[in-house]
Symmetry: C2
Subunit: 302 residues, 2 copies
């Protein structure tokens, strides 16, 4: 697998995901819905169709392909996951949370609309995510859909992403120790990435062992993702990132990079990529693109 | 059915629901969760275990009993629905939305904690709701659980409650006409009450006809609920309601009561109760408590 073909596949996943999201966020109400208010729908679209890399959807699609699972179902699960990722960005950007005006170089939802619309757009995206998976259009047996809903809600809720964001806000007041930072990051960033990798195994009806293996792979990729993010916050400029940088330091927020330094972080990233590769070695060449994904995450520049 | 025994049943449903919610909002993480941060959990509990009437859970339990469906499963669905109702109150009370300091005579979540915690507590309650239904502990066949998740997400999302709240905020700027008010209310308040009535039919595996009949019953009860609410906003005082009243008028917000007057509203409430009774007449005496529920909603004083 060359770097070129990895980039092609990422870009292919991105195009598929965006077309799927565009369709799911159409103006026509579904059965059981009254109507879809125009401004709210537009705010949701602003929050989702925003030029993201679609890394999580890519992981869902590729982890499904590893087990030769159904691509159409994987795409809907990928879109649902992206709705949750994007809702979290919309809410995290609010003045009461991280108070960001820019996201990927564009005004955040509460800047482009207003705070109430941003809160409701986030709520509606989160709600929609579960409908997308539950719907019969996600052609998986009913038990698999329930397993996905359960795993996704736990990755996203108090015991996952939302809980991690709560810990992150607390960390601005009382600096956590290293174990606290690890937990916070595993929840805030790690949980959804872990779910993305695990989802392919669930979608494909893989064995429990393989599901656990993919889940571990996702955990390692999540660690690498966050470490690279903390490095970038220290070194990149706002123009490259399309959002404010240097904020961790500005807020006195501890990260593993601030504790151990950038050299340690670079070395640790190398270890994590090796761990990811080792976890997927039983799958041989079929897993090459997922190993590339771990490398991509560890070495990304924005 | 005497008024006394109706009150007993409502109070019984309330006790069951609160015990169930208390258990679901415990400190122990579920499989797939990391940990449950204490402050966030406490904010969620503040938003949910708040002395509500639990009318929606009552409807779920009683509509299930109408078809002799499984009570344990109904209780979990009732608790999930209450999580969604309560999340919506937590978010609606935020400064960027209705900006309320009091809810049932107690400080709202963002007053007792802070805005960020209130946003995250709402998000986490919404997320938890879907996990509660998806979990195998909700002992229903997988397809029924998916139908419930789908129906609930559509009742709660952009095409239902959240969309209705968006229309309600717009209505403060541009007064809607009568049709607009009806749509707004059907979405903001009606959708969850309709779901509550319909849920019993899904939980019990009732026929499509009976599901549609219960859904219509829920729609009528929702209309009565909102109309009674608008009347109370005009006539009750804040002490009785445990929250600010007279707000609709203060904000120039049109309601059917402000359009047609309180006498019309009283007459319309009588019609709605009769419609509810007619819809349930095929079920005979078994539906008596649900008819009482419609009357209760239409004549409540807080």
């Amino acid at each position: 697998m060359t770097a070129q073909s990895f980039a092609d596949r990422l870009s292919h996943a991105r195009a598929l995901t965006e077309a799927c999201l565009d369709g799911l966020l159409g103006p026509e109400p579904l059965a059981g819905e009254c109507e879809r208010p125009e401004t709210l729908l537009s705010a949701m679209r602003h929050g989702v169709l925003n030029g993201g890399k679609r890394f999580r959807p890519f992981l869902v699609l590729e982890s499904t392909r590893l087990f030769a699972g159904p691509e159409d179902a994987a795409l809907r699960v990928a879109a649902a996951l992206e709705c949750i990722h994007c809702y979290s960005l919309v809410h995290d950007d609010l003045p009461a949370m991280d108070d960001d005006d820019l996201r990927r170089g564009r005004p955040t939802v509460h800047k482009a609309y207003d705070e109430a619309s941003a809160i409701l757009a986030g709520d509606s995206l989160l709600t929609l995510a579960f409908d997308i998976i539950a719907d019969d259009a996600t052609e998986l047996d009913a038990k698999a859909r329930l397993m996905l809903i359960s795993a996704l809600s736990r990755a996203a809720g108090i015991g996952g992403m939302a809980g991690g964001q709560a810990l992150d806000l607390q960390a601005e007041k009382i600096a956590p120790n290293e174990a606290g930072i690890v937990t916070l990051q595993a929840m805030k960033t790690g949980a959804l990435i872990r779910f993305a990798a695990e989802a392919g195994a669930i979608i494909s009806g893989a064995s429990d062992d393989n599901r656990a293996r993919l889940s571990q792979f996702g955990t390692v990729v999540g660690l690498a993702f966050q470490l690279a993010d903390d490095l970038l916050d220290l070194t990149a400029d706002a123009a490259t990132m399309g959002k404010a940088t240097g904020k961790d330091v500005g807020r006195g927020k501890g990260t593993l990079v601030s504790l151990h330094g950038p050299q340690w972080a670079e070395a640790r990233l190398g270890q994590l990529v090796a761990e990811a590769e080792a976890l997927l070695s039983p799958f041989g060449d079929k897993a090459e693109i997922l190993v590339e994904a771990a490398l991509f995450v560890a070495t990304r520049e924005n």
